[in-house]
Symmetry: C2
Subunit: 140 residues, 2 copies
DNA sequence: ATAATTGCAAAAGCTTTGCATGGCC
DNA sequence: GGCCATGCAAAGCTTTTGCAATTAT
């Protein structure tokens, strides 16, 4: 039984509903670990073996263009993906490639107000994201 | 005439002083555009043709380990480098790969105070950096 | 029907690695 | 002289691309 919500997202974005796209979206919406394309493929294999990695990249590219997912900025060579949700920030582990979401509405407000008041010359802000690097205590 | 300061940085970090390392450091300290390894090579070619890209990568790796430079987080597949300086943030162009530094001590203080007061569960912060994405008005 | 998506495979980046040579201390 | 860095070339990984076959609308 396929999630109605997932199909709705695809339809709303003028994307044809294919099993491969549903599978990729399921993985993205069901995980908060900011998977790489390869990670997504591994998650998918349970129900969808035989999907080529090239297809996953094409699907992710289509999702990015529609704004369904965004690329997470990292300093290593594998691109990581994040389904777009409410505004949030990222906690980066300094010892591994772990990335967690961090929600804080008070902080969002604080930053938005500060940056509205104190404009940056020659730059129009579209997105404000905090990159907090450090150590997690629970090594999940 | 070689910059004394550059040699000092190498010596202070227990790195042998070689022409290649001097050249890479010169590029990094002389540019604020967060170059990729390939960019660095291009800048170097003026005075140092024939340095292989592999050597540049090895040098950058050594500099990272010593903390002389840091990798800049991006969402494309080329790693970019930044010589470590005072705490600062990054302005990312949403239409190109341009990245500029953004200094704001008042903002640093605001963030540090807020995050000191409002601790994040299971996470110890080592670095606070803003990723501001948007549009530059001057297309340098 | 037809336009878009998938599958496959090749190619194109970017980065890393191994080993012999050469250079710094 | 000993050890480390460089140069060169190959290999590794991630991502992109082209095209024919397939599928959704």
């Amino acid at each position: 039984m396929v999630n109605k919500e997932i199909i709705e997202i695809l339809v709303d974005n003028d994307l044809k509903v294919t099993p491969q796209r549903i599978a990729v979206l399921e993985v993205l919406l069901g995980n908060t670990d900011h998977p790489s394309a390869e990670n997504i493929l591994q998650y998918m294999r349970i129900n969808h073996p035989n999907v080529p990695i090239g297809t996953v990249y094409k699907i992710l590219d289509a999702f990015c263009k529609k704004g369904i997912v965004t690329k997470v900025k990292t300093d290593d060579n594998a691109i990581r993906f994040d389904p777009v949700k409410e505004p949030h920030h990222h906690l980066y582990c300094s010892e591994s490639d772990r990335i967690e979401d961090f929600y804080d509405d008070e902080l969002n407000l604080l930053l938005a107000n500060y940056l509205k008041k104190k404009k940056i010359p020659n730059f129009t802000i579209e997105s404000i994201k905090l990159q907090l690097t450090g150590k997690f205590k629970n090594n999940k």
